[in-house]
C-alpha cells in the first residue's frame, strides 16, 4: 500500500456555496426590476445599464491587471452587480460619460483602493451615486417622465419625482398604485416597488439574504414617519427606499454580521432616511443613510455579538 492519501482536517465536505453564486443570485433577483425599468424608460434605460455594467467590469479588469498586478476577479460577478446597481441608482437620461466616471469611482476608489471585494467599507455603487450627485447635481436630478421608450440621453422630457413633490408641498398627481408598480419619475431601477419585492422574495427563498435588515428598515420608516407626521406608505414606496433597503443596505461586505447588529443597522437607516427626507435639504435620504451606517458597521460588529448558546430564553 503506497497510495498517497489526502489528510486535511475535518470537515471533509463543502456546501458548494461560492462567492459568485451569491452575486449572480442577487443579479437574478434584480431582473424583474430591470425589466420594469426597460418598460418605463425604454432605450435610455438599456443604454445606461449596459454602459454602467461594461465600464465597471472593464475598470475592474484593467486596474487589477495593470495597476494591482494580480489575477482579475471579474468572473465572481461582483463588478457586474456593482454596475447594475449603479445604473439602478441614476436617471435613465444620464450622459454616458458621467456613468463611466461613476463606474471608475465605484470600482477604482470605493472598492479596489480598499483592497477589493470583502474589504471595502462603503457600498461601491452607492458611494459612486453620491459622488455623482455631488459632482453633477443637475444631470443627476433631472428625472425623465416614464413612458418615453425611444428617448436616449437629453432627449427625454423630465419631470419631478414624488419625493420632490412631497418635499415642495406641491399637489401630487400620482396614486399609491403608481408608486407600487412604478409609473413615476425616479432613478432607473427604483421605480417599481413590486418588481423589487419579487426579487426580495427570491433572495429570501434562496437564502441569499436574511429578513433582518430590510424588515427593520421598513419598520423604522413606518414608526419615524408617524412621529414626523408624514404618510408612511408614501415614504415606503417612494424614492430609493425599496432598492436601498433590499439590495443596497444588505450588501454583505458593508453591513453587520450578526442578526442583532443587522436589526440595529436597519433601524438606524430607516430612521435616518425619514429624518433626512423631512428635515434635510435633499428630497431623498436613502443613500446618505446607508453610507452613514456603512461607516458604523465595524463598530457594530465589534460590540454586538450573537446570542450565545445557553442564553436562549426558555
Amino acid at each position: 500500500m503506497s497510495k498517497k492519501l489526502n489528510v486535511s482536517l475535518s470537515p471533509h465536505v463543502h456546501s458548494g456555496h461560492t462567492v459568485g453564486g451569491a452575486m449572480y443570485g442577487v443579479i437574478i433577483a434584480l431582473i424583474p426590476a430591470l425589466l420594469a425599468s426597460f418598460f418605463f424608460f425604454g432605450l435610455g434605460a438599456v443604454v445606461v445599464t449596459l454602459a454602467s455594467i461594461l465600464s465597471c467590469v472593464a475598470f475592474e479588469y484593467l486596474i487589477q491587471k495593470f495597476i494591482m498586478k494580480k489575477e482579475p476577479t471579474i468572473c465572481d460577478g461582483s463588478a457586474i452587480l456593482t454596475g447594475l446597481l449603479l445604473a439602478f441608482n441614476v436617471p435613465s437620461n444620464l450622459p454616458i460619460w458621467i456613468i463611466v466616471i461613476g463606474a471608475l469611482f465605484a470600482i477604482g476608489v470605493a472598492k479596489l483602493s480598499f483592497g477589493g471585494l470583502g474589504n471595502n467599507i462603503f457600498n461601491p455603487a452607492l458611494a459612486a451615486r453620491v459622488f455623482l450627485l455631488l459632482s453633477f447635481p443637475v444631470q443627476m436630478t433631472s428625472w425623465p417622465v416614464p413612458g418615453q421608450l425611444t428617448a436616449i440621453g437629453s432627449d427625454a422630457v423630465t419631470g419631478a419625482t414624488p419625493l420632490q413633490l412631497m418635499k415642495a408641498g406641491m399637489p401630487q398627481d400620482f396614486s399609491t398604485m403608481d408608486l407600487l408598480f412604478g409609473q413615476i419619475g425616479g432613478s432607473l431601477g427604483e421605480v417599481s416597488a413590486i418588481a423589487l419585492l419579487i426579487g426580495f422574495a427570491y433572495m429570501l427563498f434562496k437564502k441569499i439574504v436574511t429578513w433582518h435588515i430590510p424588515v427593520s428598515i421598513f419598520g423604522a420608516v413606518v414608526v419615524m414617519s408617524l412621529i414626523c407626521g408624514v404618510n408612511p406608505v408614501e415614504q415606503l414606496f417612494a424614492g430609493g427606499m425599496m432598492l436601498g433597503a433590499i439590495y443596497m443596505a444588505t450588501d454583505y461586505v458593508s453591513s453587520p454580521m450578526t442578526p442583532r447588529g443587522m436589526i440595529i443597522y436597519g433601524i438606524a437607516i430607516g430612521a435616518l432616511t425619514v429624518i433626512i427626507r423631512t428635515l434635510g435639504a435633499y428630497p431623498e435620504g436613502m443613500s446618505f443613510a446607508i453610507l452613514i451606517m456603512n461607516a458604523f458597521t465595524p463598530l457594530i460588529n465589534a460590540y454586538v455579538k450573537p446570542k450565545r448558546f445557553g442564553e436562549v430564553v426558555k
Binding site: L5, S10, V13, K305, V312
Partner: protein, 449 residues
C-alpha cells in the same frame, strides 16, 4: 413541527448509501491489534504478556484511574507481542497484538440470543459492571460510560437522553442497529435509567430514519418512561449540547457539564453495549462499523471485532477503489482523514468513509466577503470569521473574549463558507492556545498542596 436545536445548524447531503444493509459479521482476521488507548482519559495498562493464551472477552488491559477503561480481547489465541501500532492519525501508540486461534469465548459470557428483560442488578452493581466491561461512548467521543453514570456530587440526573440521531452524513451503523436490536436497546435504556435512578428517558431519532422511529415507537410502548422523539434533520444534532436542547429544551451553560440540565446523554450503540454487558456479561470487544463511499462497490454495515485491520473491512466492502483520495475514520463532518488504511477498528470507530480524489480536494480560498453565513449556521452562537482572523493573527485575548473555547468543532462554518475559507482549521488552533492558557491560569489559581 418536528423539534430540533434552536441555534444555527446545516443540512448537508445525507448520502446514507448503506441504509437498510443488514449488519454482517466479518470473518475473523489472522491477527488483531488492540490499542491500549481507545478512550478519552488515561490509556489502559496491559495485564497480559507475550505468549499468554487469551479467550474472547478476557481482560487484557486494565483501566488506570477513574477516567479510563478496561480493554478485553476480541479474539481467542496467543499474545504475539506488545508493541506500537499506528492509530487513525498515523501516530504510533502501544497496542497488544494477538494471533487468532479458533473462536473460544469466556464461559461467563451468555452467547444466546434470548432477550433478557428483567433487570436484577441495583444501580451500584450496574455502574460497576459497565466499568468492568470497558464500555465507552460509542458515538465517537469514547468517554468512559461509568464516569457519565456517576454524576458528580451536588448534581442530580433527571432524565436519560439517548443519541440516535446519527446526524453525520453517510453513517448508518446506529440506524441499522435500531432496526435489528430494538428490544435490546430499549432494555439497555432501562438499565441506564436504573443506573442513575431516573424515571424518564427520551430517544432522539432524526426524521430521515422513519422506519427506526416507527419500530422503536411501537416497541417503546412496553417500556415505561421511555419516549421516542422524532427530530428534524439538522446537523450537528448529535452534539451533546444540541441534542439536549432539541429533546428537552434546556441549554447547557458555557463551561458546564450536560448534567447541569439534569440530562445524562448516551449513544444508542452504548445503550446496546450496556445491555450486553449487564444482561449477558459481555465486555465491549465488537461494534457495528459502516464502510461506505460513493466509489465503493458494496457499502455495508459490519459487526467487527475491535483490532480488526481496516483493510479487511474495506476489502469486504469491495476493495479500495483506484481513484481514492481520502479515507476517513468516522463521518465527513467530524471524522479524521487517515494517512493510510493500516490502522484498525477501535471502540470509537463508527465508520470508514472512502472519498474519491476529486471530492477530497479543497477548493482555493478567497477573501472573506462578510456574508455572515458562518454566523447564521454556528450552533454555539459564535462569529467564526472573526475567530479565524484573531486565531490567525495569534490574538489570544480577543479569541478568549469571543469565547473560542465554546466551539464544538462541528465544522458547519467551513462547510458553508462561500469563499472556501478554512475557518475551523484556524479556530482549532486558537481554541487550543486559549484552552492551554485557561488551564495554566486555573492551575496557578488553585491552592498549593
Amino acid at each position: 413541527m418536528l423539534k430540533t436545536f434552536r441555534l444555527g445548524g446545516i443540512h448537508p447531503a445525507e448520502n446514507k448509501l448503506s441504509a437498510n444493509k443488514k449488519i454482517e459479521s466479518l470473518e475473523l482476521p489472522k491477527q488483531v491489534i488492540i490499542p491500549l488507548g481507545q478512550h478519552i482519559g488515561a490509556p489502559a495498562q496491559a495485564v497480559v504478556n507475550k505468549g499468554d493464551k487469551v479467550k474472547v472477552g478476557t481482560l487484557i488491559a486494565q483501566a488506570s484511574g477513574f477516567v479510563s477503561a478496561n480493554i478485553h480481547s476480541s479474539v481467542s489465541g496467543t499474545v504475539a507481542k506488545i508493541d506500537v501500532a499506528p492509530d487513525s492519525s498515523g501516530n504510533k501508540r502501544p497496542a497488544i497484538f494477538i494471533d487468532v486461534e479458533g473462536d473460544e469465548w469466556e464461559e461467563s459470557i451468555d452467547r444466546s440470543d434470548k432477550l433478557v428483560k428483567e433487570i436484577t442488578m441495583d444501580s451500584k452493581a450496574i455502574v460497576e459492571r459497565v466499568k468492568d466491561c470497558g464500555i465507552v461512548g460509542l458515538g465517537g467521543a469514547t468517554f468512559p460510560s461509568h464516569v457519565k453514570l456517576s454524576p458528580p456530587p451536588g448534581s442530580k440526573a433527571e432524565i436519560i437522553v439517548i443519541n440516535a440521531v446519527e446526524c453525520e452524513p453517510y453513517l448508518t451503523s446506529d440506524h441499522q442497529l435500531m432496526l435489528e436490536k430494538a428490544d435490546e436497546i430499549l432494555v439497555g435504556v432501562k438499565i441506564l435509567m436504573k443506573a442513575v435512578n431516573v424515571e424518564k428517558a427520551v430517544i432522539g431519532i432524526e426524521n430521515n430514519k422513519k422506519d427506526a422511529i416507527k419500530l422503536m415507537s411501537e416497541k417503546a410502548a412496553d417500556y415505561a418512561g421511555i419516549t421516542i422523539e422524532p427530530l428534524k434533520v439538522q446537523y450537528p444534532q448529535g452534539g451533546e449540547k444540541q441534542l439536549i436542547d432539541a429533546c428537552i429544551r434546556r441549554q447547557v451553560p458555557s463551561g458546564a457539564l450536560p448534567i447541569a440540565t439534569g440530562a445524562v446523554v448516551q449513544n444508542v450503540g452504548t445503550a446496546f453495549a450496556v445491555y450486553e454487558a449487564v444482561q449477558k456479561n459481555k465486555p465491549l470487544f465488537e461494534r457495528v462499523v459502516t464502510v461506505t463511499g460513493k466509489s465503493l462497490a458494496k457499502p455495508s454495515n459490519f459487526l467487527s471485532r475491535v483490532g480488526t485491520p481496516m483493510n479487511q473491512l474495506i476489502e469486504a466492502a469491495g476493495g479500495l477503489p483506484e481513484d481514492t483520495g481520502k479515507v476517513i475514520s468516522g463521518g465527513p463532518m467530524m471524522g479524521k482523514a487517515m494517512p493510510s488504511t493500516d490502522s484498525m477498528v477501535v471502540k470509537g470507530c463508527s465508520g470508514i468513509l472512502i472519498m474519491q480524489s476529486l471530492e477530497a480536494k479543497r477548493k482555493e480560498m478567497s477573501d472573506c466577503i462578510r456574508c455572515a453565513k458562518c454566523v447564521h449556521v454556528c450552533p454555539m452562537g459564535l462569529v467564526p470569521s472573526y475567530l479565524m482572523r484573531v486565531s490567525e493573527l495569534n490574538m489570544v485575548e480577543e479569541a478568549e473574549a469571543d469565547r473560542v473555547y465554546d466551539c464544538i468543532e462541528c465544522g458547519s462554518c467551513s462547510y458553508t463558507c462561500p469563499a472556501n475559507r478554512p475557518l475551523l482549521d484556524y479556530i482549532r488552533l486558537g481554541k487550543g492556545k486559549v484552552m492551554g492558557i485557561m488551564r495554566a491560569r486555573a492551575a496557578a489559581a488553585a491552592p498549593k498542596k
